[in-house]
C-alpha cells in the first residue's frame, strides 16, 4: 500500500486528464510510488493498478518499458552517468570509468554496503554540460570532473 500522501499526489495528477482517462496518470503514479518505496515491487505495482482501475499487467508493462523505473531495489543512491557520444566527446565515458574505479563496481552493479548503484544512461538532453549524471533519477549533476565526483561521493556519505 502507498501512503495517504502519495495517493493525494496521484489524485492531483488525475486532475490533468479527462475523467474517463485515468490510465494517463500511470506514469506519474509509478514515479510517485517509486519515490516513496525506492523501487516498484509487485505489490506496489498492484496498488497503483487498483487505484487507477487498470489490470496489473498493463501497469507492469509501463513500468518495464521506461527505464527510470526500478523493478529491483537499487542501492541507496542510484547514479546514472550519460555515456552517449556527445557526452563521451567531453568526458562522459571517462567519468563513468572513474566512478567504476571509485566505487569498485561495474555498470548495473551495487556496492556491497548497498549504498551505490551505477548505471550507464542515454542522452539526458544536457550534452552541453557533459559529463552529466543523475542521482536517484531526479537530481541532475553537470560538468562532473573528477574533483566534482569526489565531492559528490563525499556528500552522499562515501
Amino acid at each position: 500500500m502507498l501512503s495517504t500522501e502519495s495517493f493525494k499526489k496521484i489524485d492531483q495528477e488525475l486532475e490533468k486528464y479527462p475523467v474517463d482517462q485515468k490510465q494517463s496518470a500511470v506514469m506519474a503514479a509509478l514515479r510517485i510510488a517509486q519515490q516513496e518505496k525506492d523501487w516498484l515491487s509487485d505489490e506496489t505495482i498492484e496498488a497503483v493498478a487498483n487505484y487507477l482501475g487498470m489490470p496489473p499487467i498493463a501497469v507492469f508493462e509501463v513500468a518495464s518499458f521506461y527505464n527510470m523505473y526500478d523493478l529491483q531495489a537499487p542501492g541507496r543512491y542510484k547514479l546514472t552517468v550519460c555515456t552517449n557520444l556527445p557526452c563521451a566527446l567531453s568526458g562522459g565515458a571517462v567519468a563513468g570509468k572513474y566512478l567504476k574505479q571509485k566505487l569498485g563496481i561495474e555498470y548495473n552493479q551495487t556496492t556491497a554496503d548497498g549504498q551505490f548503484t551505477l548505471k550507464e544512461g542515454e542522452c539526458m538532453g544536457a550534452c552541453g554540460d557533459a559529463p552529466v549524471m543523475l542521482v536517484n533519477n531526479h537530481r541532475m549533476c553537470c560538468k562532473m570532473t573528477e574533483a566534482q565526483i569526489d565531492q559528490l561521493l563525499v556528500e552522499l556519505g562515501k
Binding site: 490533468k16 486528464y17 479527462p18 482517462q21 490510465q23 494517463s24 496518470a25 500511470v26 506514469m27 506519474a28 509509478l30 514515479r31 487507477l52 487498470m54 498493463a58 508493462e61 509501463v62 518499458f65 521506461y66 527505464n67 527510470m68 523505473y69 555515456t83 552517449n84 557520444l85 556527445p86 557526452c87 563521451a88 566527446l89 567531453s90 568526458g91 565515458a93 571517462v94 563513468g96 570509468k97 544512461g121 542515454e122 542522452c123 539526458m124 538532453g125 544536457a126 550534452c127 552541453g128 554540460d129 557533459a130 543523475l134 533519477n137 531526479h138 537530481r139 541532475m140
Partner: protein, 436 residues
C-alpha cells in the same frame, strides 16, 4: 548571441524565468493582441505560413501548413501537444528554453489552441530533466493564477487548459505517436500512419504535435508579422534557431543564430575546435543525421535547404563536433549501441537490424572485423530504411551509411590492421571517447 535573437536572449540565469519577468520582456503581448483585435484563426495560420517557420523537432515540416490540417470545426475535444521529450543525442535546447523561458512556450501553446480550436494541451517533458518539469509546473501555476490559462482567458470567450506530463526514460517517446501512446498511459510504441494525428491523435481525437522551440517562435510572429520572422532567416527558412553545440569545442552550449548563418561563424561562437585541433567531422542535426566531413560542413550555411544539399539534415539543430583525435569507428559504435537499446521492438527490421549493426561495428572496433563487414553494414542499413513503422529505423541506418561513405578508409584500416587509424595517444589526449 545575435541581436536578432528572441528565444533565449540575455536569459542566462535561473532568476528571470517567472511570469513577472516574462511580462516585463513583453511576454503575453501576442496573446493579448489576438484577443484584443479578435484576430481570426485563419489570419494566424496565414501569418505562420508567410513566416516560413519550420518545425524545430527534427523533420522541419512547415508549421503553418501543419496547423491548417486540423479540422477546426470538428465538434468535441481536440488537443495540442508539445514535444519536450528531448532525447536526440546532442540536443539540449528545449531544456534551456523551459528552464529560462517557460512562459514563451506556454504563450505559444495557448495561441496554438486558439488557432486550431483546441481547449486542452499537454507538454510532454523528458523524464531525465525532472527538475525542469517541476519548473514548468510552477510556470503553469503562475499562468493559471493570472487568468492566462483556464476558462475565459483574460475575460474573452476563449478557454484553454494546459498540463505537463513527464516521460521516464524512453527515447522513442520523442516520436510523436509514441508520445501520444505514452500520454495515454501505455508503452511508448509508435502507431502506424495514416491515420495522422490531425485526424486520430490523443484519445483518438484530432491532435497537433509540435516541438518546444516551434511553439516558442509563435509569439514573435504574431507581434512582428510573418514577414519580419522570415527576414530574420532566409527564404523558406524563417527565423532564428537554437543550435546546441557539443563535443570538441571550447565552449559547448546553445547559440541562437539566424537560419542561414555560415557554419564557421557558429564554430567560432563556440570557441572553435577544442585545444586548437583540426576539425574532422560534424553531425549537424542530432545523432540521427548523416555525418559530414570538415571540408563539406565548413562550406555550408546552417539552414534546412543547405544542409540537405550537403547530404545531411538540419534536424533538431544539434551540432556534434569531432576533431582529428576521434576514431570514427568508436564513435559510430556508441551511436549504434544507442539505437539498438532504444528500438521499441515492434518492427523486425529495426529490432533485429539495429542489433546486427551494433554487433558488426563492435567487432570491427575490437579487431575482429571481416573483409565483407563494410558491405554488410551497408546492406543491413539499406534493408532497414523505409521498412519500419517509425523513423527510428532510418535514424539508426543513416549514421552508419554516412560514416562509411565518408570514412570508409578508417573502417577498412580497422579490419586490416585490427587497430585504430587514429593513434591511441592522440585519442586519449583529445577525443576522450576512448576509455582504455
Amino acid at each position: 548571441m545575435s541581436d536578432k535573437a528572441y528565444l533565449l536572449t540575455g536569459l542566462n540565469g535561473d532568476k528571470t524565468w517567472g511570469l513577472a519577468d516574462y511580462i516585463k520582456r513583453g511576454g503575453y503581448e501576442a496573446l493579448k493582441k489576438i484577443l484584443r483585435e479578435q484576430i481570426t484563426p485563419d489570419a494566424i495560420i496565414a501569418e505562420l505560413k508567410k513566416s516560413a517557420l519550420r518545425g524545430r523537432g527534427g523533420a522541419g515540416f512547415p508549421t503553418g501548413l501543419k496547423w491548417s490540417f486540423m479540422p477546426r470545426q470538428f465538434p468535441g475535444a481536440k488537443y495540442v501537444c508539445c514535444n519536450s521529450d528531448e532525447g536526440e543525442p546532442g540536443t539540449f535546447k528545449d531544456r534551456d528554453l523551459l528552464r529560462f523561458n517557460p512562459h514563451i512556450v506556454i504563450e505559444g501553446m495557448i495561441i496554438a489552441g486558439y488557432a486550431m480550436g483546441c481547449e486542452r494541451g499537454y507538454n510532454y517533458i523528458h523524464g531525465e530533466i525532472f527538475e525542469i518539469y517541476e519548473r514548468f509546473e510552477a510556470a503553469l501555476a503562475e499562468a493559471r493564477e493570472a487568468g492566462l490559462l483556464g476558462k475565459n482567458i483574460l475575460g474573452s470567450n476563449f478557454s484553454f487548459e494546459l498540463f505537463a506530463h513527464h516521460g521516464y526514460g524512453a527515447y522513442i517517446c520523442g516520436e510523436e505517436t509514441a508520445l501520444l501512446e505514452s500520454i495515454e498511459g501505455k508503452k511508448g510504441q509508435p502507431r502506424f500512419k495514416p491515420p495522422f494525428p490531425a485526424s486520430y491523435g490523443l484519445y483518438g481525437k484530432p491532435t497537433t504535435i509540435n516541438n518546444t522551440e516551434t511553439f516558442a517562435s509563435v509569439p514573435y510572429i504574431i507581434l512582428n508579422g510573418g514577414e519580419a520572422f522570415l527576414n530574420l532567416g532566409k527564404p523558406n527558412n524563417g527565423g532564428t534557431k537554437l543550435f546546441s553545440v557539443s563535443g570538441h569545442v571550447e565552449r559547448p552550449g546553445n547559440y541562437e543564430v539566424p537560419l542561414g548563418t555560415p557554419f564557421p561563424e557558429l564554430l567560432e561562437m563556440a570557441g572553435g575546435v577544442r585545444g586548437g585541433r583540426k576539425l574532422k567531422a560534424v553531425i549537424p542535426g542530432g545523432s540521427s543525421a548523416p555525418v559530414l566531413p570538415a571540408s563539406i560542413i565548413m562550406d555550408s550555411t546552417l539552414d534546412y535547404d543547405c544542409i540537405a544539399k550537403a547530404g545531411s539534415m538540419l534536424g533538431s539543430g544539434a551540432v556534434i563536433v569531432m576533431d582529428e583525435s576521434t576514431c570514427m569507428v568508436k564513435a559510430l559504435e556508441r551511436l549504434s549501441f544507442f539505437y539498438h537499446e532504444e528500438s521499441c521492438g515492434q518492427c523486425t527490421p529495426c529490432r533485429e537490424g539495429t542489433g546486427w549493426l551494433y554487433r558488426v561495428i563492435h567487432r570491427i572496433e575490437h579487431g575482429q572485423g571481416r573483409q565483407e563487414d563494410i558491405d554488410l553494414l551497408d546492406s543491413v542499413s539499406e534493408n532497414i530504411m523505409g521498412r519500419t513503422i517509425c523513423a527510428l529505423g532510418d535514424a539508426a541506418a543513416m549514421p552508419v551509411k554516412s560514416f562509411i561513405k565518408h570514412f570508409r578508409d578508417e573502417f577498412q584500416y580497422h579490419i586490416d590492421n585490427k587497430r585504430c587509424l587514429v593513434p591511441l595517444e592522440l585519442q586519449r589526449e583529445g577525443s576522450k571517447i576512448y576509455v582504455g
